[in-house]
Each structure stands twice: as structure tokens, then as C-alpha cells.
């Protein structure tokens, strides 16, 4: 069918709707000269079959990244994987299995896909722009084999040209572009609609290219940093103030706007009414004060799912926990260390693990590792655990290590881990000395007369037995800046709009032909052709035929008076 009517859409040669080339077989073999070979290669790369193959490859290549932990999404998982299966892990690492989505092979697939896409879309766009200005194609000689073919006898006395004229108005009204053709005893109208379909399809594919470019390169200008703040602490948005910082490839430090952000309070609400969900957090609110340079400070809130947008960055609330305030004094009572130390939550009831390092001020360097239980309870085995995440009956247990902390080795050490290689354990474990146990406000002697350690009560004015404010909380924030994401959103919306138009706007041609018979009567023929999936085509042809006949034979029929002179 297409051969006769001629496609007006440039499609890859193996599109089901495109003409089967007369020399169809020749093109599947590469010619020998270089240019010819290049052309053959390009044609293969931009074919539908290649696009399909690459799409399916892309889907398959994405699978392993969900089976094996990924460095970007789950770095701890990767470390764990290496610890659990060292041999398998190093083999997997060789094929970039822990960095699937930035691996050579994954990138190769999607880059090829996008080269294919560009190679396919550019000629189609050019063709489409030309087709927008072209006239609908000539009416085929025989309509009989086309979709919805219908014939009607025009009411007696109808003039062929006038009949076609009224068909033309009907089609124009229906949004068709029309062209008139005349040959011998036949007058016909060729109508076409639905260019939006191809426009939508092109918009969709172009927007995909847009998303890849903007998302891939644009995010390189941004950064993402993490910072833990204890209630009462302030953070200045400078490179040094971050606990960890990941700049994009093209990141420029000048772009950091040194605003300050203070965590005034951190409030958590726990479920206490519904016993089936007792202790489940229902709300986290970080009350903050933000001061952008040159402006007055303002108070605001950061919540999960409700980031704070400030000075081009977005501040997200990602985690929280307790930060017991711990003071260590030497035997004379001079303070060697005092700080609120964030303890990392280990379970839903916030049993938390933390480390204190006291490098100076005592006879020996001192390391403390300990557990904090917001509501301490004792298991049958004698082990402690936390039975509720809020501060009902807080308890801090500490193990003491003395010796070299290894801080001056020049190796960056995590504040959350204690390297005990060069240290002697003084309490807990096999030492025979009980671990130190402290409630807020209590002080205990360190072993070997090293000094004392105090678990400060943050709410000094609290009545006896009320611990609700005794320990400060910390919040961990992510500060992000991605200048490209607005663009990614824009292209995504364009892609969706393109998709909707391309899948739902029918593209079709309709022909109406009036044939003058020898005896003066006129026979009308109607037929259509779908360009792409168009389940409504035949109904459209039938409706047109019906409407047209209604126009030609107005009721009541009065052939004499309507006869044009």
C-alpha cells in the first residue's frame, strides 16, 4: 500500500511502515570501499533493529547493579561484600560490577544507543519539517483496497465538483490539510492529518537526548556535602566545614555562598497510642536559624521530605540520633576534653554506638568506646538494650583504652572508629574491670588514676527522674546543589508531552473521490490509510461518508431547488 501512496515520513529502513527497498538485499551487505562501508555501518547503527537490540541490552546490563551493592548508592555494602567474599569481590571489581552505572560497558551501551538515536532523529526532523509544508499526496488511482473503503451514489443531480467541495470543507473542519486533484472524469480530495503525531515522537526522542546531556554533564557543576550538627551547633557553608564533600567534575569553590546554618532544636515525635506501632517515629523536625550574607537571620525548619532551599543549595534532613555530652578531667580536675559526641544509631530503639578520643591533657592518650541506651533495659542474658527510642531511662556505658590513638600518623581517621592496635583495654571485655556505667549528671573515676569522666546532663534544671531533655540530639544534613535538575525536569515534561501526543494523536490520510458516470450520475468513494497505530480509522471514514451524504442530501430532499445553475 505504501508503495503506491508513498510515505512522507522518513523512518529507518527496517521500520515496519517504510517501503521495502527494491534493492533491499544489497544494503544488508557491506560494500568494500571505505566510504561505502562507513555508510553501511551508519545505516545499521541507526536502524530500528539496532535501536531495539541496544534497548534490550541496556535493560539487561542494568540488572547486575541491583544484585551487587554499588559504590555510589551503598558504599558500606561494598565494603561488607569485600569482607564476606574477598575472592569473588575482587573478580567482580575487575569487571566494574560495583560501579555498573559508570562502567565502561554500561556507558558503551547507552552512548551507542544515543548515537543511534541522534542519527535516527536528525534526518527524521529534517524530513518532518519539509513534510509540514508539503501538499498531501496525490489520490491513488484505485481506493478499493484501502481501509474503510465505502462507495455511495450521490443524490441525483449532484455536481461532482460541488460534492468534492463540500467534502473538502468537512475535512478542513476536521483538522485535515487538503489538496484537490482532477483527472478526466474524476475529481478527488486528498486529506491528511496528524502531523502532531510525528512531532510528538520527535519531541520525545529529542527530549531524551536533552535529559542525557543535561543530566550527565549539568550535574558536574554541582556538589553534595554532608554535615552532622548537634543541637546548638552552627555550620558555615564552606568547604572545610563539611564532614564529607563530593564536588562535581566542573565544580568551582567560588560558588559556595558562605551562609550559616544553626541547629536550634531537634524534635522527634514517637507513636505512643497505637500499641502495634509503639515507639515508631512519626515526625522529625529540625528547627534551624539561617543567615545568608547581607541579610538578617531567619528561623526555619527542615523535615524529611521538606528540604530547606537556601542560597542556591538544598538542605536535606537525612539522619539523626543522640550526642551525649562527655567531659574528661585529669586527676586535678582540669578539663582534658568536653564535647557532645554524636553516637550512631544501631537499631530502631536507638541503641547507639560512639567513640571519644582524648589526645592531650592526660598522662596517656585515652580512647573511649561506648553504647548509649535512651531507655536502658536488661535482657535475660544480662546484656543491655534499648527498649524505647526516647529518653525514658538513659544510660551510657564506656570501655576505656589507653595508649597511642594513632592520630599523628597522617592517615585520616574516622571520628566514629577507634583504632585500638596500639592501645591497652582498661575496662570491659576480658580486663576483669567492669565497663563504666553513667546516667546523665554522673561522674566516674577512670581506671589507673587517669582522671574522671562525666556524662553531662544537658538539662541541668530538670527535676529528679525527668530525663526528657538530658541528652542532646544531632541531625545529619545533606547539602546539595545541582544546577541542572531544573533542566532535567523540563526535558522530562517535554518527553512526557511528546509521548502523549505521539501515542494518542492519530495520523491518517483520507480520500474522497467523485466519479462522473456516463449517465450523468455521480459515484462517491471514500477510503483511508493509517500512518501508525490507528484503531479509529475505519470509523472515521464511515462517519465522514455519512456526514458528507447528509450534507449533499439535505432533508427534505428537494432536488429541483438546490440545483446549481
Amino acid at each position: 500500500m505504501n508503495d503506491r501512496v508513498g510515505p512522507t515520513v522518513s523512518r529507518p529502513y527496517d521500520h515496519h511502515d517504510s517501503r521495502v527497498a527494491a534493492s533491499g538485499d544489497r544494503i544488508t551487505e557491506p560494500p568494500l570501499d571505505f566510504i561505502g562501508w562507513l555508510r553501511w555501518f551508519w545505516r545499521q547503527l541507526t536502524s530500528m533493529r539496532t535501536a531495539l537490540l541496544l534497548l534490550l541490552l541496556l535493560a539487561m546490563a542494568a540488572v547486575p547493579g541491583s544484585l551487587v551493592p554499588q559504590r555510589t548508592a551503598d558504599p558500606n555494602g561494598v565494603t561488607q561484600y569485600f569482607a564476606d567474599n574477598p575472592d569473588l569481590a575482587s573478580a567482580l571489581d575487575k569487571v566494574q560490577a560495583f560501579d555498573v552505572y559508570s562502567s565502561v560497558w554500561f556507558s558503551a551501551i547507552y552512548l551507542l544507543l544515543f548515537v543511534s538515536l541522534i542519527g535516527c532523529v536528525i534526518p527524521r526532523t529534517r524530513h518532518h519539517l519539509r513534510a509540514l509544508r508539503a501538499k498531501p499526496p496525490k489520490t491513488p488511482a484505485r481506493l478499493g483496497r484501502l481501509a474503510g473503503f465505502t462507495t455511495r451514489d450521490a443524490p441525483a443531480g449532484t455536481d461532482a465538483a460541488a460534492a468534492i467541495d463540500s467534502a473538502r470543507s468537512l475535512l478542513r473542519f476536521g483538522g485535515y490539510r487538503v489538496a484537490l486533484f482532477e483527472s478526466g472524469s474524476e475529481v478527488s480530495i486528498s486529506a491528511e492529518r496528524g502531523f502532531l503525531r510525528e512531532s510528538g515522537n520527535l519531541l520525545f526522542h529529542l527530549a531524551l537526548i536533552g535529559i542525557l546531556i543535561v543530566g550527565g554533564f549539568g550535574s558536574g557543576f554541582g556538589f553534595s556535602g554532608q554535615r552532622v550538627l548537634v543541637e546548638g551547633q552552627t555550620f558555615v557553608n564552606t568547604l572545610l566545614a563539611y564532614d564529607s564533600f563530593k564536588p562535581g567534575r566542573f565544580f568551582d569553590e567560588e560558588r559556595l555562598d558562605p551562609y550559616t546554618l544553626a541547629l536550634d532544636s531537634f524534635d522527634v515525635e514517637y507513636e505512643t497510642l497505637n500499641l502495634k506501632a509503639y515507639g515508631q517515629p512519626v515526625d522529625y523536625t529540625a528547627g534551624v536559624t539561617v543567615a545568608v550574607q547581607g541579610k538578617t537571620a531567619r528561623t526555619d525548619e527542615v523535615k524529611v521530605n521538606a528540604p530547606l532551599r537556601v542560597a542556591g543549595t538544598d538542605v536535606f534532613l537525612l539522619g539523626n540520633g543522640y550526642a551525649p555530652t562527655i567531659t574528661v578531667r585529669d586527676p586535678k580536675g582540669n578539663i582534658a576534653f568536653t564535647d557532645s559526641v554524636p553516637f550512631l544509631p544501631q537499631d530502631a530503639n536507638l541503641t547507639s554506638l560512639g567513640v571519644v578520643k582524648v589526645p592531650d591533657g592526660l598522662a596517656q592518650q585515652l580512647g573511649l568506646t561506648g553504647f548509649f541506651y535512651p531507655t536502658q533495659a536488661k535482657a535475660q542474658s544480662g546484656a543491655y538494650f534499648s527498649s524505647f527510642p526516647d529518653l525514658e531511662y538513659p544510660m551510657l556505658t564506656l570501655n576505656v583504652y589507653a595508649g597511642g590513638l594513632g592520630l599523628d600518623a597522617g592517615v585520616p581517621a574516622s571520628v566514629y572508629a577507634l583504632n585500638t592496635d596500639k592501645m591497652t583495654q582498661l575496662t570491659g571485655g576480658d580486663t576483669g574491670t567492669k565497663s563504666l556505667e553513667l546516667k546523665p549528671g554522673q561522674t566516674q573515676e577512670l581506671p589507673n588514676g587517669l582522671g574522671t569522666v562525666t556524662f553531662e546532663n544537658a538539662d541541668s534544671g530538670a527535676t529528679d527522674g525527668d530525663f526528657s531533655g538530658s541528652v542532646l540530639r544531632f541531625a545529619s544534613f545533606d547539602v546539595n546543589n545541582d544546577p541542572a535538575q531544573g533542566w532535567v525536569l523540563l526535558f522530562s515534561v517535554l518527553a512526557l508531552l511528546g509521548l502523549l501526543t505521539s501515542l494518542f494523536v492519530p495520523r491518517r490520510r483520507i480520500w474522497v473521490k467523485a466519479i462522473r458516470r456516463e449517465n450523468g450520475s455521480v459515484c462517491l468513494e471514500y477510503a483511508g490509510l493509517a500512518r501508525g497505530d490507528d484503531p479509529a480509522l475505519e470509523a472515521a471514514v464511515f462517519t465522514l461518508a455519512k456526514r458528507h451524504n447528509a450534507v449533499l442530501a439535505p432533508t427534505p430532499p428537494s432536488t429541483q431547488t438546490t440545483e446549481p445553475i
Partner: protein, 332 residues
Amino acid sequence: MNLNELSILSLYSAMGVYAFSFIAFSIDLARRSSAVDAAQCQAPLVAESHRSTAAGAGGGTTTLTRISARIAYDAATPYSHSASLRVGVSLIVLAWALHLAATVLRGIAANRVPWANMYEFAMMGTLLIVAVFLIVLTRADLRFLGTFVTGLVLILLGVAVLRFYVEVAPLPPALQSVWLVIHVFVASLGTGFFALGFALSTVQLVQFRQESLLTDAMEVRLRFLATLPSAATLENLAYRVNIIGFILWTFTLMAGSIWAERAWGRYWGWDTKEVWTFIIWVVYAGYIHARATRGWRGSRSAWLAIVGFAAVLFNFGVVNVFFKGLHSYSGL
């Protein structure tokens, strides 16, 4: 009895009625086979007429009109009504009403949208699968899929009740977002369309095999197939349904990214759940391309639709429960 218990009771009743509906639809399939036998006695040349129908459908000259009009059956053996078919439809509507009540009651009991953990996803997702089926029934006569739909829904609800059940709990802060409402709902609706598309593509494959057997004048076992539309018609229907699913899925992907940006500070991070949502999207994009690629129309593209829906089920049933990631909301 509190509202949640009432919801559970309603869900169990719905499952009971779905089971009876399944039986009624199965009896109908059996009736279809005997109707075909009867027709064959009268007209020994069914195979011949069938072949021509199938060929006609491929050429696009069938009377396949708007989906909103009832699809004209181009079945070899016309078959329209049986009492069991009507009973099956009435029962599935009744079961759906109970199912809806169960879902709404659960939402009222929890004082939030009833789709925040696996049990609730399963309940709401299956509700939408049946809803999509019932809506499509008003536009095209796909009642022959009744056994499939009720069977699938029964299995999924059975797993939900036995394995995924959790007590009503408030939303954790990470899920308190309008995007939960939008993203999860649209994903479930998309799943409803994909489920129907999967069914149609499966029947299309079987029908295609049957048509090839008939052209080769071979013995056919699943005789009721002769009362169903031709493979070509089924393919067109499957395509219509699947592209609606695809659009909804595209929206799911985008809404999910917007939510991820608001909650975690990045719109895309290759989290396991994001990976599988992407894989499903790409597979269905492949399906749409396959339909437009010479040599891939018909059975090959149907296989892609089937792989796509298998990935949807995998994403729901396996990734949520067994894979580690940020989306740990199964509630288990």
C-alpha cells in the same frame, strides 16, 4: 470489631467471591469448547474460514474500529453469551465492591492512603487490576480474560494475606509526602494496564500458535480459542493497553525522581528499586519499538510484553522484600 478487622473481613469475602467468579469464568471456557465442537459438526470448514479471517486482520482491513465501540469479534466461531459468563461478570463486580470496601476501610483505619506497605500495595494494586479490567470491559468484550484476572488477583491477594500482612501503623517520616499518594497510585494503575496487556499478549501467542496449527490442518487442543479474537486483533488490543501502561509508567518514573529529590536530595541514584523501575520502562520501550520494527511485530513483540510484566511482578514481589535499598518500606 474495629475498622481494620472489618477491612480484613471484607477482603476475605472479596476473595471468596473472586473464587466463585473464577469458577464461573472457567465453566464458560469449557462451554466455549463445546460450542466450537458443535459448530465444527455443522461446518467442517472452520479451519478454512479461520485462515482467511486471520489474514484479513493482518492487513488492517478488519472491522476493528474504535476501542470504545465493542471490538467486533473476528473469531472463527462466534460466541457471545452464556449464563456462566454473565454470572462470572456479576460476581467479579460484587467481589470488586467488597475489595474496594476493604481498601477504603483500611485507609480510614490507618487515617492515611491505604498504600504504604506491601500488604496495602497488594490490596490496592489488585483492586486497580480488576478496575482496569472492568473499565475495559465496557469498551471491548474481553470477558474471556475473566479466569486470568480473577486467578491472578486471587494469587496475589493470597500471598498478601499470608505473607505480607502487617498491622495498621502510622506513616514513618520518609513516606509522609504527597508524592507517596501520586507516585504509588500511578504505578499501581500502570500495573493494572500491564497486567491486562500481559494477558492479551499471552492469549495472542497461544492464538497465533493455534492459527498456525489450523493452517497446517493440525489437531488443536484448546478448542475454546476459536471463540476468541484472532491473534492480530489481540495484538492490537494488547498494544493499546500496554501503551497506556507505558505512559503511566513513564509518569511513575518521573514522579519517583521528583520525590527522591525531595526526600534524599538527588533525583536519581540507581537505588535497586530505581534500577528495576528503569528496567521495566526500557523493556516496554523495547516492546513499542519491536511493534514498529520489521520482523519483530507479532509474536516476538508479544514476548517482550510478557517479559515486561514479569519484571513488574519481580519488582513488586522480590525487589521490595529481598533486595537492600533505600526503598525499605515493605513493612515486613
